[in-house]
């Protein structure tokens, strides 16, 4: 029996750089969608607190503790990243999403200038600082974008990784060319 080799959706696509901007694989390992069942929001928060020092996040926010993070992704839904979801079994719908997303990391000075070419949301640090996340359109693609230090993490559907890298790369080059 041959071993099945794992393939990253970003294989051969990144890293990419243009001027001061770089686009790389964010290296997100494990993503679990957490959707608390009816009336279980507090229980979910308590379980997250106990197991990982987290809580269920308010809309458009990220809560981090060490390697573990929980990212708001929609109505009654969050992605638990880099942490074991088992303590939430029975009180939230848990769905493995680890393979469903390509997660990019965009770095560079005022990297929001690059995303301003593709995203109709104000991502400047004063408005969209550490702990902020938004689920919005990146060009014509659905995405989850969160602030990560001076840069951003960008989640897109695995199947759209090619287009996402191409479009963000184009924006990086155009902004870099302006100097």
């Amino acid at each position: 029996m041959a071993e099945l080799l794992a393939t990253s959706p970003l294989e051969g696509l990144v890293p990419l750089s243009a001027g001061p901007f770089t686009l790389s694989d964010a290296g997100v390992a494990r993503i679990t969608s957490v959707a608390p069942f009816a009336g279980k929001e507090k229980a979910v928060s308590a379980a997250l607190k106990k197991a990982h020092g987290l809580a269920f996040p308010a809309p458009n926010t990220v809560i981090s503790k060490g390697e573990a993070r929980i990212v708001w992704t929609g109505r009654g839904q969050a992605f638990l990243i880099g942490a074991d979801p088992a303590p939430l079994a029975g009180i939230a719908a848990l769905t493995d999403q680890s393979d469903g997303w390509a997660v990019l990391r965009l770095d560079g000075p005022e990297a929001e200038r690059v995303l301003a070419r593709k995203v109709a949301v104000d991502l400047r640090p004063a408005v969209f600082g550490e702990g902020a996340v938004v689920r919005t359109a990146l060009g014509h693609m659905m995405s989850v974008i969160l602030r990560a230090g001076a840069g951003f993490e960008i989640f897109v559907f695995r199947s759209m990784a090619h287009t996402a890298v191409h479009e963000i790369g184009e924006a990086m080059r155009a902004v870099a060319a302006r100097g």
Binding site: L4, A35, A38, A93, T95, S98, T163
Partner: protein
């Protein structure tokens, strides 16, 4: 001609450029227009309709006459305003609308026939015979009348779209805009200052104005330096705000690379959408011409432009300049020209009481009645109370007064109001919510007034967003009164131009009124006034004044036409930036994409996905051979197909089963863990929305599959049902389409193939048709479903997507050793047509469960979405077109989807239509063409011969109506 020591150009940086094939030199800081004028080039184009010689008239984006084509490698951009195009090394431009050359233009004879080419001429002359319009008249007219030409090639330049956000958007950087920006910036607001020019300062760059005892441009530099140093300010030059839209959103076009010889990877243009909490419109004012005989001759320019060329670019627009005015601005022009050593031939002031203020010849109460000169102005005729006289001049600076640049305030349907004391329209307050017009744009024409008004506007904007305005005193500046006595048209027989860009004269407007097109909107359309690239910026007020006169009304009653976005022309390429070719939509690739491409499979788009059409092998001369082989593989051995693109929705919660019962027509609450069921989903209107299988993975945990193209639609539907109809139900769902790579393994040897990759062999007793469960594939946790879209003994195996590429290669390699292989969309389609299985070709949005023969799936025991509507009269019964199979009587006669069906005896016409073909294929299994079709009362007509007519492909085939299931109707193979 250059004037030494004047202008903001860099005389150390000379730039070479070409116009109409001739080489010239200009300087860094020039526009194409200023460089041409400096080189003595007066004639730069031919007019739209009459092909009359035209020169530069203005110094701004409103230029109606100096429109040129800019040629770059691979690009040809028509209608570029020479006044906007900045000069760069190697710039190449050419004049438009002339043949064979600008000097000798054959179509200039149009001008001789001008009496026949008046407004409305096309509509009257070319009416009959009717058929001639499209074939003869219109193409001929289009060739003769035009503004530039396109290359006919794709525009492959780089364009960009972008978004920006701010507290205050200041539009325009003259005295008013600078003061507004400064006040808001010092208050700490996020400010964007947008200026369409390449340099900030507005009229301060064009006029010699003093502010606080310094030259105005020095004062502007000081303010700009302060603004530039503030982190909360963004200065955007070369950015024309083009439209005001809802919720404080503004469109703006930025010229990013068009002014550079080597733009590198810079985009040519960027189309911005700026979301601003408040905005200040400080766009200034546009000087308007006066209509008099032959006022379009090269050398006739706007007075403000003559000053701008002198002060900003150090260019004399003529050796001897005459000035024609109806207002006090003429003095400024005359003084500045004199100071620069340029002869002022005469000042012709239409005001009888015009004051004599300088050392120049003044004709009071006088008018210019004509212009003369072969390819440019040589002399003008002037008439006053003493009669007609000739004045030698090679440039005539005209000022008919100023129109506030209020266009943006009208973009939400507000109308400006007439202010008789300045003889101009001004914006009304609150015309666009959150937009404060100030300075010349609001009819304030003195520098001191503009500085004050900018502060006022910014103060109002800051108050609206709850920020405190800092105390700033307006600097001291000139505060003269604006003295104007309206003059629109100089009476006379000869044509007097209003709209230079579209060749509309005062006579045309009067004709419009005479022909009863008396409303300003009708006049506009009758004459085409205001419909050229300048959108009437130069002609609007003049034209409606002529119309008012011709109809015996006042200007306010006549009103203006509607100003709509964009304020300046915006290239479609900028608005659609990134959307050309593959940029039109995202591409979705499956994990097996590379493997399929390596095998030579042509990839076809399905939704946004790319899927293999077929997998060609050596010796196969066409796609059908490959397809037939792949069908035989599945029917006889084993085939592998990537089905990951089907929508997969994970559904959990204690009300999940109830929820499924509600969205599907059939019952799911009885489905046991480890089992799969086919389900049918209706829209609220009773028509079929989608079909697919849903597996019960565990108690309260389901996996729904949808059709590839309907995945988003179904997800949205489920969200709607949950949020709007059943919000209290405890059910949660999320798409897992991307999480799992899923492959169909189909054929009599499918189990053998799977057993070779699964860690534990399948126990046939535990895996009957429609079973599902967890499996382990080389140690990877996967899922297996015994379902079939081919009618064969088949499975779908799913693994986390990271393993998809590896598993697909492994499965295909193993299948090949068993005599099978991968199969593509073509074979998949043949297999399902043979079995009469549905796709969205059949459930295309207009068919019901009854129509497709699945009315028994509509449960009588429970409610479900669409149940009531599906029972409406007319949606059931013999009158409906029902799903049937079609077999041509001659098995080799090709049939195609889209063909219509008729009784043998009826003519093939719409009113005899009996139905239509939705899917067709050649069945390698049954050695016959097959079709699926909808036929009126079709289920009762099996065995009948019907005539298939394909009007598109021009074929006719006699077919037998059959049951839609052609192959293995008992379903023995699928269960075996």
């Amino acid at each position: 001609m250059r004037i030494d020591g004047k202008g903001l150009i860099d005389r150390k940086t000379a730039l070479n450029f070409r116009f109409d094939g001739r080489s010239y030199t200009g300087f860094q800081g020039d526009t194409l227009a200023s460089a041409l004028l400096a080189n003595g080039v007066r004639m730069v184009g031919r007019s739209f309709k009459y092909h009359r010689p035209r020169g530069v008239m203005t110094a701004g984006s409103e230029e109606p006459s100096a429109l040129v084509e800019v040629i770059e490698r691979g690009q040809q951009t028509p209608n570029v305003r020479a006044t906007v195009q900045e000069l760069h090394e190697g710039l190449e431009a050419r004049s438009q609308n002339r043949w064979p050359s600008l000097r000798y233009d054959l179509l200039a004879m149009n001008d001789l026939f001008a009496p026949f080419f008046g407004a409305g001429f096309y509509y009257k002359t070319f009416m009959w015979p009717r058929a001639f319009w499209e074939r003869l008249y219109e193409p001929a007219i289009r060739r003769a009348a035009g503004l530039g030409s396109l290359s006919g090639k794709h525009d492959e330049g780089i364009y960009e779209k972008a978004f920006a956000f701010c507290d205050l958007l200041v539009i325009g950087s003259g005295p008013a805009g600078l003061m507004a920006a400064l006040e808001a910036a010092r208050a700490g607001a996020d400010v964007i200052l947008a200026e369409e020019d390449s340099r900030m300062g507005g009229r301060l760059l064009a006029d010699t104005v003093e502010i606080d005892g310094r030259p105005g441009r020095d004062w502007a530099e000081g303010v700009l330096a302060e603004l530039d140093a503030m982190p909360n300010v963004r200065l955007m030059t070369r950015t024309a705000v083009t439209g005001a839209y809802d919720h404080g959103t503004f469109g703006a076009l930025e010229r990013v690379g068009l002014h550079l010889a080597q733009p590198g990877e810079r985009p040519r243009e960027c189309f911005w959408r700026i979301a601003a909490k408040q905005a200040v419109l400080a766009a200034g004012a546009l000087e308007r011409p006066i209509a008099f005989a032959d006022n379009d001759r090269p050398g006739v320019m706007m007075a403000g432009a003559v000053r701008a060329y002198l002060n900003r670019w150090g260019v004399a627009s003529g050796k001897s300049v005459a000035i024609f005015t109806n207002n006090g601005d003429a003095r400024k022009t005359a003084d500045e020209l004199t100071a620069a050593g340029i002869e002022v031939a005469a000042v012709i002031d239409s005001r009888p009481d015009a004051p004599a203020l300088g050392d120049y010849r003044l004709y009071r109460g006088a008018q210019v009645t004509g212009t003369h000169g072969r390819r440019g102005l040589e002399w003008i005729s002037v008439r006053d109370q003493n009669g007609e006289r000739r004045v030698e001049a090679d440039c005539l600076a005209v000022s008919g007064g100023w129109n506030p640049t209020l266009h943006l305030t009208c973009h939400m349907n507000s109308r400006p109001v007439w202010r008789p004391e300045i003889a101009a329209f001004v914006p009304v307050d609150g015309a666009v919510p959150g937009l404060h017009a100030c300075g010349a744009a609001a009819g304030v024409f003195s520098t001191a007034g503009c500085l004050e008004d900018g502060l006022r506007a910014a103060g109002a904007a800051l108050e609206a967003i709850g920020q405190k305005a800092p105390k700033i005193a307006a600097p001291k500046a000139e505060d003269g009164a604006y003295d104007i006595s309206p003059l629109w048209v100089v009476p006379g027989e000869r044509r007097a131009w209003l709209d230079f860009a579209n060749d509309v004269t005062a006579k045309d407007v009067r004709l419009s009124a005479q022909e009863n097109f008396r409303s300003v909107e009708h006049m506009k359309r009758y004459t085409t006034q205001g419909m050229a690239p300048d959108q009437g910026k130069n002609s609007n007020v003049g034209a409606l004044a002529v119309l008012a006169d011709a109809t015996g009304r006042g200007i306010p009653e006549t009103g203006t036409t509607t100003f709509r976005p964009p304020y300046v022309p915006v290239s479609i390429a900028a608005m659609g930036a990134g959307g050309r070719a593959a940029g039109f939509a995202p591409q979705r690739f499956t994990t097996s994409h590379e493997a399929s491409v390596e095998r030579g499979a042509p990839m076809i788009e399905a939704g946004l996905w790319y899927r293999p059409s077929y997998f060609p092998r050596m010796g196969e001369t066409d796609w059908r051979r490959a397809c037939n082989r792949e069908v035989h593989n599945v029917r006889g051995r084993v085939g592998v197909c990537d089905v990951s693109t089907l929508g997969k929705i994970d559904i959990q919660g204690k009300d999940a089963a109830r929820f499924l019962d509600f969205v599907y027509t059939n019952t799911f609450s009885t489905l046991q863990p480890g089992r799969v069921r086919y389900g049918l989903m209706l829209r609220e209107d009773g028509h079929v929305m989608d079909d697919g299988t849903t597996a019960c993975l565990a108690e309260n945990h389901y996996l729904m599959t949808t059709t590839t193209a309907a995945a988003g639609l179904v997800m949205r539907h489920l969200e709607f049902v949950h949020q709007a109809l059943r919000p209290s139900w405890d059910v949660r769902f999320i798409s897992v389409t991307e999480q799992w790579a899923q492959f169909a393994v189909a054929g009599p040897r499918s189990r053998d193939l799977l057993n070779s990759v699964l860690d534990q062999k399948l126990d046939p007793a535990a895996w009957p048709f429609m079973a599902c469960g967890a499996v382990s594939v080389s140690g990877v946790a996967g899922r297996l479903f015994r379902i079939s879209f081919s009618g064969e003994h088949a499975y779908e195996i799913a693994v986390p997507a990271r393993y998809g590429a590896a598993l697909f290669r492994d499965l295909v390699a193993r299948a090949e050793t068993m005599g099978g292989g991968a199969y593509g969309m073509e074979a998949l389609n043949v297999l399902r047509v043979e079995k009469g299985l549905l796709t969205h070709a059949e459930i295309h949005g207009r068919t019901t469960a009854f129509d497709v023969g699945l009315e028994k799936m509509m449960s009588k025991k429970k409610d479900f979405i669409g149940k009531a509507a599906a029972a409406r009269p007319g949606l059931l019964g013999a009158g409906r077109e029902q799903l049937v199979g079609l077999r041509p009587l001659d098995a080799e006669r090709e049939i195609g989807a889209g063909a219509h069906l008729f009784r043998k005896s009826d003519p093939a016409k719409r009113e005899f239509d009996q139905g239509y073909v939705t899917s067709a294929c050649y069945s390698a299994t049954l050695r016959s063409w097959l079709g699926l079709a909808f036929v009126v009362n079709g289920r009762a007509r099996h065995g009948e011969t019907i005539r298939l007519v394909d009007h598109m492909r021009k074929t006719e085939v006699l077919c037998e109506i059959t049951d839609p299931v052609f192959f293995d109707p008992e379903g023995e193979k699928v269960r075996g």
